[in-house]
Symmetry: C2
Subunit: 213 residues, 2 copies
DNA sequence: AGGAAACTGGACCGGTGAGTCCATTCCGGC
DNA sequence: GCCGGAATGGACTCACCGGTCCAGTTTCCT
């Protein structure tokens, strides 16, 4: 018994992971308050008591889920920015590519789960806000600023405050995405993402590019 | 009796307004689910039954509050964009000013209430999403695009897709604001808003300005 | 094999909150 | 000055949910 409907109970140690995943799904679908621990347990294919064994209470469950989510988001965002370190490639292509990767991160379902949950619960759990802002958003912006600074130093971008430029590149990328994705409700086709990234890179280069071409 | 703590009971017809305001405050503070109708009633200086007389149930209360909020937001945003119709003024100053006004809208407490609530409840009440996106965000973007198009026609901006340019201007303005305001938690000083607006106008003009000046 | 630790299912408690009801009181218009 | 509709408050129902408990079973480690 116990194989009905759920992913077959595997190694038996990663129940924890299953619970976390289920929690994320349910939190996202119903919101933190309306999410019943019973439901989460059921969706994880686990008894309610098991949930309380792993995490002491609902609140810690939320925090852990958050932590997992932002860890993942951070990694993916940093990876998106990393290729900008390339010193020789075609600058426009490089920017466009990084932009596209960032946009993909931004549009990923998990990313929306994170933002939605954060917006909803930031008032009640201010620490989560710190976790995500300082722990993810700021770090990514910083990393991006670093890359841009290098590019300025290499004479491939016009001088500017790198942190500000990074912020603005982000803005160009994501400014329209809230609307276009309808707050994560609608899935954006790859082609549209590409357009957004291209437009952002375009505008950014017009503003900050040297005439190098 | 009845004057304790609350705005003194005035004309006796705008109880409705009082309830709506209180609802907004409580929804914002506690979130929709945790907001007790009793609390809203108390904060409005009104009996619970009165709330149910005016609005049938909690859900309609939310919707009405939303409607009021987005109406207000729309008006203020459109007003912010309007001055751009000026055909002669200093372009940079004009953009900077419109930008500043938009930023102020974006940072206004009511604006954050709207966004937070929307993010949290968009899943459960998809119609609200439509109301705000189509009814406010799109309209504002369109209005901005209109102004930009005129400026292009007048030879004061380089040709570009106006809708896209408007989107990007918005992105430049607001991209950093989520972080800077810590999701509406922190109040941004006027000076900082001004800087953001200036930086946005700056970058925008570098990308889309003719060398006119 | 055997025992400890984890897991299960389900009953259970206590609190909370939406929505209803009603007898009473208040208030504005005629 | 009086009448009818709105407002009051407070009690009440009903459902749901977080968290606990427990007796029985599974799983893993040695």
């Amino acid at each position: 018994m116990g194989e009905a409907g759920t992913a077959l109970t595997r190694g038996r140690i990663d129940k924890r992971r299953a619970i976390l995943d289920a929690a994320l799904r349910v939190f996202d679908r119903e919101g933190y308050d309306r999410a019943g621990v019973d439901v989460i347990a059921a969706e994880a294919g686990v008894a309610k008591a098991t949930v309380y064994n792993h995490f002491g209470d609902k609140e810690t469950l939320l925090r852990q889920a958050f932590a997992a989510l932002s860890e993942e988001a951070l990694a993916r965002n940093l990876a998106a920015v990393a290729p900008l370190a390339d010193r020789d490639g075609d600058l426009r292509a490089l920017l466009e590519d990084a932009g596209l990767r960032l946009v993909r991160c931004y549009c990923a379902p998990h990313s929306w789960t994170l933002r939605r949950l954060l917006a909803a619960e930031a008032g009640r759990f201010p620490d989560l806000l710190g976790l995500v802002q300082d722990g993810v958003a700021d770090r990514v912006n910083e990393a991006l600023a670093d890359r841009l600074a290098r590019l300025v130093l290499a004479g491939r971008l016009r001088a500017a405050d790198p942190a500000l430029a990074a912020e603005q590149f982000g803005g160009l990328l994501c400014g329209s995405l809230d609307r276009r994705t309808r707050l994560g409700t609608r899935e954006v086709p790859e082609e549209e993402m590409r357009e957004v990234a291209r437009a952002a890179a375009d505008t950014f280069l017009r503003a900050f590019g040297t005439g190098e071409l």
